[in-house]
């Protein structure tokens, strides 16, 4: 069959129609390439689009109320009895609180688990642990939030002797569970990327495996580990359903982990559905969205930069 096609092609090449055909084929190629180019640029377009949209929808709120109203006050009360207030400081604080708590749990646990996987685990243990972590990563946030209500809630009130467990601590525990897979797998990658020669040299000098791990592998993989942590942090800041269901949703400014709080993501989730389109309150929610976007963007960017420098350093 192919020989017939070749013969036809050779015959055509010799004629004007053949030359035109090659020309139109080239045009087709160019078009196809442009098509894929557009497709490739899609990611940039979407990212830019999200930012632009958030900005344009948040702008009317800034115009009407001024930036200080949002960033200068911890009182978020757009449906107030008397005067509507749009201070998002308490919301930012709540988001940062649960994230910090989550990282305090997930960093030691995650890096230790990654070290276990890269340095100690036998093949069999890896075959159990790695799929387990993938499964953990796949559990949807609404299910985790559900367990926050039915499992973690009574547990917190029993262990800490508080009257109820819908608190920042609940959110931190749940978010830690959700960011563990990210931190573990990326940290493990970083640890595995440590050149074996480093480890061999350390062992040859008489250090124990543990000392090698702590004093050679981890510091060498540190940038990768930090990048992993930043990604996990971004995930925690942006999580919605889990904190919506488990942290009590009280918009107060507090630093007490055993109190109810309301994160930025939960605020949007609660109020977007009850707000008429194109009112000040509506635009104010986009201000929160913009701040969220900015925070996760910065965290991801830092993580990227660290990884880039790290990869360049390795060369």
């Amino acid at each position: 069959m192919n020989e017939i096609v070749l013969e036809e092609g050779v015959k055509k090449l010799g004629t004007r129609a053949g030359v035109q055909q090659i020309g139109s084929q080239r045009l087709k190629e160019k078009l196809i390439e442009k098509f894929f180019l557009l497709n490739g640029m899609l990611a940039i377009l979407i990212l830019g689009g999200i930012f632009a949209l958030l900005f344009f929808k948040a702008y009317p709120a800034f115009q009407e109320l001024g930036v200080i109203e949002f960033f200068g006050s911890p009182v978020w009360n757009p449906t107030s009895y008397s005067k509507a207030q749009y201070g998002i400081l308490s919301l930012i604080n709540s988001s940062l609180m649960v994230t910090l708590g989550a990282l305090l749990i997930a960093i030691p646990l995650g890096v230790a688990c990654a070290a276990f996987l890269s340095d100690i685990a036998s093949l069999k243990m890896r075959e159990i642990l790695k799929p387990a972590i993938e499964i953990l990563a796949g559990i949807p946030s609404v299910v985790v939030g559900f367990l926050g209500i039915v499992l973690v809630n009574p547990m917190i009130s029993r262990v800490f002797g508080v009257s109820h467990g819908l608190t920042a601590l609940n959110g931190s525990i749940l978010l830690a569970i959700m960011s563990l897979p990210t931190i573990i797998s990326l940290s493990e990658d970083a640890l595995r990327a440590v050149p074996p020669s480093y480890k061999e040299a350390s062992l040859a000098l008489g250090a124990s495996r543990w000392q090698t791990l702590v004093r050679v592998s981890v510091p060498s993989a540190l940038s990768g580990i930090i990048a992993a942590i930043m990604l996990g942090m971004g995930r925690a800041i942006g999580e919605t359903m889990t904190v919506l269901m488990a942290t009590g949703n009280a918009p107060a400014l507090t630093f007490n982990f055993l109190e109810a709080i309301q994160t930025m993501t939960a605020t949007i989730a609660i109020e977007l559905g009850e707000v008429p389109y194109n009112t000040t309150h509506y635009y104010a929610l986009f201000v929160i969205g913009l701040v969220l976007f900015a925070m996760t963007f910065v965290v991801n960017l830092i993580s990227d930069l660290i990884l880039q420098k790290y990869q360049e350093g390795e060369r």
């Binding site: 979407i46 276990f116 800041i237 919605t240």
Partner: protein, 283 residues
Amino acid sequence: MKKKCAERIGFALLSSAAVLVILFLGIILWDIIGNGLGVISWPFLTQSPREGMTEGGIFPAILGTFLVSLITVVFAVPLGMGAAIYLNEYALAGRMTRLTRLAIRNLSGVPSIVYGLFGVVLFVQMMKFGTSVLSAGLTLALLTLPLTITASEEALKTVPKSYREGALALGATQWYAIRTNVLPYAVPGMLTGVILGLARAAGETAPILFTGAAFFLPHLPKSLFDQFMALPYHLYILATQHHDIAKVRPIAYGTALVLLGLILLLSTSAIYFRYRYRQRMRS
């Protein structure tokens, strides 16, 4: 001696970290399966809810999740594949390409509720699709795009360069070479990306909260422009907003188990396909 001792303690700590992580997973699965298994039955999976959601099944939610995930995949997979083809086959190393990859990585970190905000403005309001399967599916497609691009790229990377070079040497155009010598071998690997994308989209709640999901609908969605019920949203309402939370708690557990089971099924089949595909490529 001290070194040995420190090493033993250190390794014990690491092992306990791993045990703890498995314990977390175990507790989660044990609670959901333990409380949810008793509720699952054929009627539960195939009937509609009755008596104000306190009885009957969750079939409309299962169907709704399936429908919206289908829309997601229909949009996210071709676009993801196209972007991956560009990045891997056409793009020259340079600032634009690096910027694109940066954008992709950043997109995967954008909070799901921000995608929801974007979807409400772009699809529900500006494009006038209203709260519908289409709006929600498109919003989820945006969320899933970074995942499908990455998975497709991975699949393309596993096709050896020689395949392309061979075709080009014989005089084929670039697209022809890609179409006949790269894609057929990469598509099964891209299937992994499809399934993973499905699994991700099926479990998300925040993007569909305001773009089309509803708790109670008297009929199944009749078109792309109808609202729909969905498993994650159903669970959320059963757990927090229902008028008899205690009574429907078992149904909530059943819904959680069905959702979890669906996602696990998809994830494990993706892993299986990836494994089989890699084996095929090796031989």
